[in-house]
């Protein structure tokens, strides 16, 4: 019997071992999906499984770091790394570059030119939160807010709308990437904002007589006490013949700040002007500046292509809840002719990343939308060329260490947004981003939902979905007061 076991064990070992063939060198690098050639990745990322785009026969992939090697045999052109071997391999590769060499057996073994993958010194936050929803139009069906452990492929639901009578849920937001401080909205059925903090769940009724709508686009104050929101009268329309397909626009909008301790909303005349559309507020990491987008009001929807949002800022005193008397303009849309959305400041306060497109504010539907960076220490603006593509590159968020940015891009098929993670050096140098890896390299081909609002979080959201749902459904909620 023991001989049989020994024989089986040897067979297993032989089956696992992959020998590198002598291949005729090819001049080109292989075309793989996802495109990992030249990307920079964190050492705590799940294995970058991939497939050859145009080859589905015998193939071998070899990842090398000096004399260390990690090998895997392709299955119909698809390569799946062993998670444990990958983990230890990447640990050893911190701050170094890996070489990925692919051998294909096409009338004899051939060897592609190697692909380089750089492993950054700095880790990425442990989790990514996002909403999964069909990329469209007015209706929705099943949706949810999910979290993905980035070191593995494990995805779990923070909450799904099957718990809350199939309502709409959106705009999840975290205070400084903290999974313990989160909020999101529910719409249509059980409309409210659910605020999760220090293990408690709060249901907020956010519509007041003095504000035009429920609270909409959020951004937490770093202290956790305040959350800036826009309030918007939003509409959606469809293009007759345009690559952008859908247009989302505001009829009017303002910016307000919600005080989580007093359940009060405050604002300023400079953020609540009748003739100006103000939206997408975001706090600086020191909590003393509120950035937002602002456009001259127009007749909508007729004038939708002539709405251009500037990037502005106003000072904020968290002790007195008061705003400054002056609005500064960082990007002047009147002069420069384009339109800013989604400003986000890096947690170290050094950079501000925003989306720039031809007009309007809902840049996720604008094919020309690209990411732009401001170095706040010098005030210089520059396009994030290393991250941008020919298609939409839009919503983005920073990692807690300011070295990684996750952003939504429609570059794969032009419709379904996918999360890309890009590295930024302390000097502001951007490196080629990579698509969030999945166990199955065909995962994105069959996924009929978009990744919406990808947000890094430092750990797992532990709140129980059922408890949140019961609170949403049974609780009366706290009515917010607008304070002049």
């Amino acid at each position: 019997m023991k001989y049989i076991f020994s024989f089986l064990f040897i067979c297993l070992l032989m089956g696992c071992s992959v020998s590198i063939p002598e291949g005729t060198p090819l001049r080109e690098t292989p075309e793989i999906f996802p495109d990992y050639a030249g990307v920079t990745i964190p050492y705590n990322i799940a294995p970058l499984n991939f497939r050859l785009k145009a080859f589905d026969r015998e193939a071998i992939a070899v990842l090398s770091l000096g004399d260390k090697m990690l090998k895997v045999k392709g299955k119909k052109g698809e390569f799946t790394w062993s998670p444990s071997a990958w983990r230890s391999f990447l640990e050893a590769a911190r701050g170094k570059s890996l070489q990925l060499t692919i051998y294909i057996n096409e009338n004899g073994w051939k060897q592609y030119q190697p692909i380089s993958i750089r492993v950054a010194e700095e880790p990425v936050d442990g989790y990514l939160a996002y909403r999964l929803i069909e990329p469209g139009y007015e209706l929705w069906n099943r949706m949810g807010i999910y979290q993905r452990e980035l070191a593995t492929y494990t995805q779990s639901a923070i909450i799904e709308n099957k718990m809350t009578d199939d309502n709409c849920m959106n705009c999840h937001s975290f205070c400084m990437q903290d999974p313990e401080q989160m909020l999101f909205h529910m719409r249509q059925t059980h409309p409210a904002t659910m605020l999760l903090r220090e293990g408690k769940i709060e249901k907020l009724n956010t519509k007041t007589d003095q504000t035009m709508s429920y609270l909409v686009y959020p951004s937490w104050h770093p202290s956790g006490r305040y959350v800036a929101f826009s309030v918007n009268e939003t509409r959606q329309a469809f293009h007759v013949n345009h690559a952008n397909r859908v247009e989302v626009y505001d009829l009017m909008s303002d910016v307000v700040v919600y005080d989580t301790e007093k359940h009060e909303i405050v604002s300023s005349g400079l953020l609540k002007s009748r003739d100006v559309f103000e939206t997408f507020p975001t706090f600086s990491p020191d909590g003393r500046t509120l950035y937002f987008c602002s456009a001259d009001g127009r007749l909508m929807p007729e004038d939708f292509e002539n709405v251009h949002y500037s990037l502005c800022s106003i000072s904020f005193d968290p002790d007195t809840r008061t705003f400054g008397n002056q609005v500064d303009t960082l990007y002047n849309a009147r002069e420069l002719g384009k339109s800013v959305s989604f400003p986000r400041v890096s947690p170290d306060g050094r950079f501000l990343l925003y989306t720039l497109s031809g007009y309007g504010n809902f840049s996720i539907w604008h094919k020309d939308a690209d990411l732009y960076m401001i170095d706040l220490s010098t005030g210089t603006h520059s396009p994030a060329d290393a991250w941008n593509s020919d298609d939409v590159d839009s919503y983005h968020s920073w990692s807690s260490n300011s070295r990684w940015v996750v952003f939504s891009s429609r570059r794969i098929d032009g419709l379904y947004t996918r999360p890309y993670i890009g590295y930024i050096g302390t000097d502001g140098r951007l490196e080629k981003p990579f698509l969030l890896p999945q166990k199955d390299s065909r995962f994105y081909d069959r996924l009929m939902k978009s990744y919406n609002i990808p947000e890094f979080i430092t750990g797992k959201v532990k709140a129980n979905a059922r408890e949140i749902a019961l609170k949403a459904k049974k609780d009366k909620g706290v009515d917010l007061q607008y304070v002049k």
């Binding site: 329309a237 690559a243 247009e247 032009g414």
Partner: protein
Amino acid sequence: MKYLTLLFWCTVYIVLFIYLQYASEFHFYFLEQNQLFQWSWPYLSEKLAMPGGFSFLLSEGLLQFFILPYAGAGIMAGLLTGIGAGTYFILCRIAPRVPWLFISLLPAIGLLFVFFNFNFHLQGTVSYLLILPVIYGIIGISGLRYRLIAEGLSVLLVWFLAGPVFVLTGAVFLLYELLKRDPGFYWSLLLGVEILLIGLLSVWYSVWGELNFAFLPDGYFNSRLKPDAIIYGSWVALAGLILLSCVFRNKDWCSGKRVWFGLGAQLLIIGGVLYGGLPKYRDAKSDKLKKLDYYSRTGQWDEILEDCKGSMTNYLYMCYTNMALAQKGQLGDRMFSYDQRGVPGLIVNWNQTMSISVLLSDLFYTMGDVASAQRMAFEAGVGEIGEGNPRMLKRLVETNLIYGAYPVAEKYIAILENTPQYKTWASGQRKFLYNEEAVNQDPVLGFKRRGLPVRNTLIQMDGVLNDLYSLAESYPENRAPIEYAGAIYLLGKDLPEFGKMVEKYYGTPVLPVLPLSFQEAVIILWEGKPEEWERFGISQPLKERFASYKSQILANKGNTSALPGLMRRSFGDTYWYYYMFK
């Protein structure tokens, strides 16, 4: 006896098949679009990993064949016969000396009633069928201890494989044990605890969103809607029959007059249930709509027109009729040959349901409004109660090919290639990918592409009519937009605006000649100005017909009550009649 039983169930199958084919042929075709069964391991494994995933996959796998003639009736009759026979064998195992033949059809009849409601998923029926052999096998175990263990394990297994029907399984076991009262039977109460625990934990850990989805057949119903009480009928029926069989388990009703009395009573009950239930639950009023939907899906425009002759009281039927006319290029000429009752009969309002989204997608596609057709196809897919809508996915492929959005069209093609029913069609579309020439030369795709508006706007920013004008001006060869625009004015009896339209477009490539109904409208718009008739090329026979119309009106003007009927006989197919009497 064995052969008689077999004969009985064969007869049940045949009767059910004939009835379902007769009563529900188009219901089957309609149901088929509620699935997107993909024969690929990632899809299968993802579903299998979910509680209830196994029965879900089985039901999707069966549902995909409903598009084939006779397949739906054959499958559904098989499922229901299986449920009837399964129930029969269980009852016979508990009380073998009772002739259970007819009454064991009760659960199947309950499921037949809910089958007519398209919001009830086929998974509910498949899951029901799955538990019957499990119950049959386990109640045959003689030792209580082993039986209880098997019951406990099977409840868990059923939960995982078939979803909420685990509650019914557990309830049947519990009932059986409590009534059988073997020594130590009280241990069976643990089954109740198990059911509660599984259900509550399933909700706590978000397997199902609410307690009713975990514990009741609501889990097999459209979660956005509240089901009728009939959904519980099959569950209550099985529990009731188990109760009955336990009560009668030591009785002998298989000899003498009792057999006939028993069977007669059962037949009476079943007959009564069918007599009362079928008219109530069959949803016969939606038959015609489903038929028209199928004809529209398969491009059988003549059948639609044939089916919509005579009086119609439903705007949706009129939408299909007018769409069929537009498809045949006859909307402007023949629309009043069919019953018309206003603008909603041309374009029905969107109510956000899947079926209206599908209709509107077809309608806009007919008009050449590709953007709206795509939007409605997308909404239909999203609003779908199943995993997707293959019919609308095809539309998304087509519309994206028309726009040249090849990567996303390729994504949808790849998904459809995983479906056994649509694989061939999907693969056939690959020739259009990244091939402008192939798209341009295709009679449908090329035609629609040439019809895309040259100037982009937002849909309905300036009203639907301006969108139609824009389509008509961009590609005058497409007659549908201008004929729909004119038809909107005619059905709305807005002759001044109609006049402006023909003034603007008559004689241009958009409207080189006026269709018959438009000519009729021109005649009454400029009734006192025959020179205008000449300008719009009104034909001599039409002028004569109008003269005849007028003279008949004048001759019968005192007879106001009979006038509409009289005029309808001779002029019911004219715009004049519609304008004056409708």
